[in-house]
């Protein structure tokens, strides 16, 4: 997946497929997938506080990104999510932004 173009591709994004592509592991159970996804959304939201936005899980396979003024976008994967954040919030979503880093350095860790 291209983070800039958001080109759609078959199958889940690398960030959601576990840590070993070579392993023919049993797929995660529905409950496990739900918990992992809920955790990911909580972590994303800790980052999105910087932009006054929120994300939600949508049908277990997509995310909704919402801005405080009601703008919303449905996206398939994390690279698309960052594009959507920039569109609805009108700011650059930059992990090297000093203010974001300082916030995360002080933030409460997110529990699973």
């Amino acid at each position: 997946m291209c983070g800039l173009c958001g080109t759609l591709m078959e199958g889940p994004h690398w960030s959601e497929t576990g840590t070993d592509v070579a392993r023919n592991a049993e797929p995660a159970s529905g409950r496990q997938r739900y918990l992992e996804r809920a955790y990911r959304v909580r972590l994303i939201n800790r980052v999105l506080e910087r932009y006054h936005c929120r994300s939600e899980d949508w049908t277990g396979g997509q995310y909704i990104v919402r801005s405080p003024n009601g703008a919303a976008e449905v996206v398939m994967s994390l690279p698309q999510l960052w594009r959507a954040v920039e569109q609805v919030a009108g700011v650059a979503a930059d992990p090297l932004d000093e203010d974001l880093i300082k916030r995360l350095e002080k933030a409460e860790p997110v529990s699973l």
Binding site: M1, C2, G3, L4, C5, G6, T7, M9, E10, G11, H13, W14, S15, E16, T17, G18, T19, D20, V21, A22, R23, N24, E36, Y39, R40, L43, I44, R46, V47, S77, L78, P79, L81, W82, R83, A92, A93, D94, P95, L96, L100, I101, L104, E105, A107, P109, V110, S111, L112
Partner: protein, 355 residues
């Protein structure tokens, strides 16, 4: 599901015009381990290829609407591979087990890599094995000065082959080697003499081949060698030795940074962070290669990316060294390595409570 290691590896051979790509290919194809390789070439050069499966490809690049150059789809390449794949399946050509794609000399190879790694159909049958870049010992310096494509070809390489090294003065050769190692210290730089190279060493570039990946990862993360080639290990705030740079060069601001994270990484936080980094800075993050200590995972995890494109992660059977910390080499164009490390540590910290 098809096991990733059984997919047909594709090696991409790139290099500037006249840098000896075809000579290198001719030599490689005589090696027994490549007797069952199919070859796709972009142009018939002055040197003919004597091989059973050689197919030319017309250049036809489709730029996506966003204008992101590294993510252009090479429709021609996709069609050529799928056509060959169909013939293979129908028994019209031998069942080749590897593929080599030769790019044109003027090409930025990233669209080729993007096509190979992102097309859903290709990904079902093939995987990227490695990128081999040829650089002419005599003209390489000038080409790096004048052509940004030449620098791009060096940054994406897993193997850099300095060709015609028998024709260059030793001092000239040493300067070129030092420059190439500064641009891309994670690549194994080797010499071709009289059109000959160590083919086995070239083919070790395949980090997804279970028999080769440990040695390859060891090479990526040889921290001592990285530092000697000018990479900054920002973790210790001890900058490496830097050569004086001419700011007018295309590679003047390209630099490798070794990011080290002491705490085990939260995989979810890492995915959020890397996708966000590549979203915003992908055009300046030329390579990412790393070994990660991931919380809850016994084996080391390998990450490998080129600009916006990330290979699927893979496990190593064992840690190559006693050091169990996560080390990631970023080859970046004018970015602050210490800030990258601080940002990753901050994201990881927020996920630190997870089991």
């Amino acid at each position: 599901m098809v096991a990733y290691s059984t997919l047909i590896p594709i090696f991409v051979v790139t290099g500037f015009l006249g840098s000896g790509k075809t000579t290198l290919l001719n030599h490689m194809l005589r090696h027994p381990s490549l007797k069952d390789a199919a070859v796709l070439i972009n142009e018939f050069g002055a040197v003919g290829l004597d091989h059973f499966l050689v197919k030319p490809v017309d250049e036809n690049t489709v730029l996506l609407a966003s204008g992101c150059l590294c993510c252009a789809i090479r429709d021609d390449l996709k069609s050529a591979i799928l056509e060959l794949n169909g013939k293979r399946e129908r028994g019209e050509v031998p069942r080749y087990r590897r593929m080599i794609v030769e790019t044109t000399g003027l090409a930025d190879p990233t669209p080729i890599l993007f096509t190979l790694m992102s097309d859903p159909v290709l990904r079902h049958h093939y995987r990227l094995g490695g990128v081999i870049t040829t650089v002419d010992a005599v003209n390489g310096m000038r080409q790096l000065d004048r052509h940004v494509e030449s620098v791009r070809q060096a940054t994406v390489a897993d193997r850099v082959v300095i060709t015609k090294s028998d024709l260059a003065e030793p001092a000239e050769l040493a300067r070129l080697e030092a420059r190439l190692k500064r641009i891309n210290p994670t690549a194994d730089t080797m010499f071709g003499r009289f059109g000959k190279i160590d083919v086995r060493r070239v083919l070790r570039a395949d980090v997804y081949d279970p028999s080769k990946k440990v040695a390859e990862v060891k090479h990526w993360l040889d921290l001592e060698a990285l530092s000697a080639h000018g990479a900054a290990h920002d973790h210790d705030h001890a900058p490496g030795k830097h050569a004086k740079r001419d700011v007018n060069r295309h590679d003047a601001h390209i630099r490798a940074h070794v990011v080290t994270i002491d705490q085990p990484l939260d995989w979810t936080a890492f995915g959020i962070w890397l996708t966000m980094l590549l979203h915003r800075h992908g055009q300046r993050v030329l390579r990412v290669k790393g070994i990660l200590n991931v919380k809850g995972v016994d084996a080391p995890v390998i990450v490998n990316g080129v600009q916006h494109i990330v290979h699927p992660p893979i496990h190593l059977a064992a840690w190559p060294e006693a050091d169990r910390r996560s080390h990631i080499v970023f080859i970046v164009d004018d970015m602050d390595g210490a800030l990258i490390e601080r940002s990753l540590a901050a994201f990881n910290r927020v996920g630190a409570a997870a089991a």
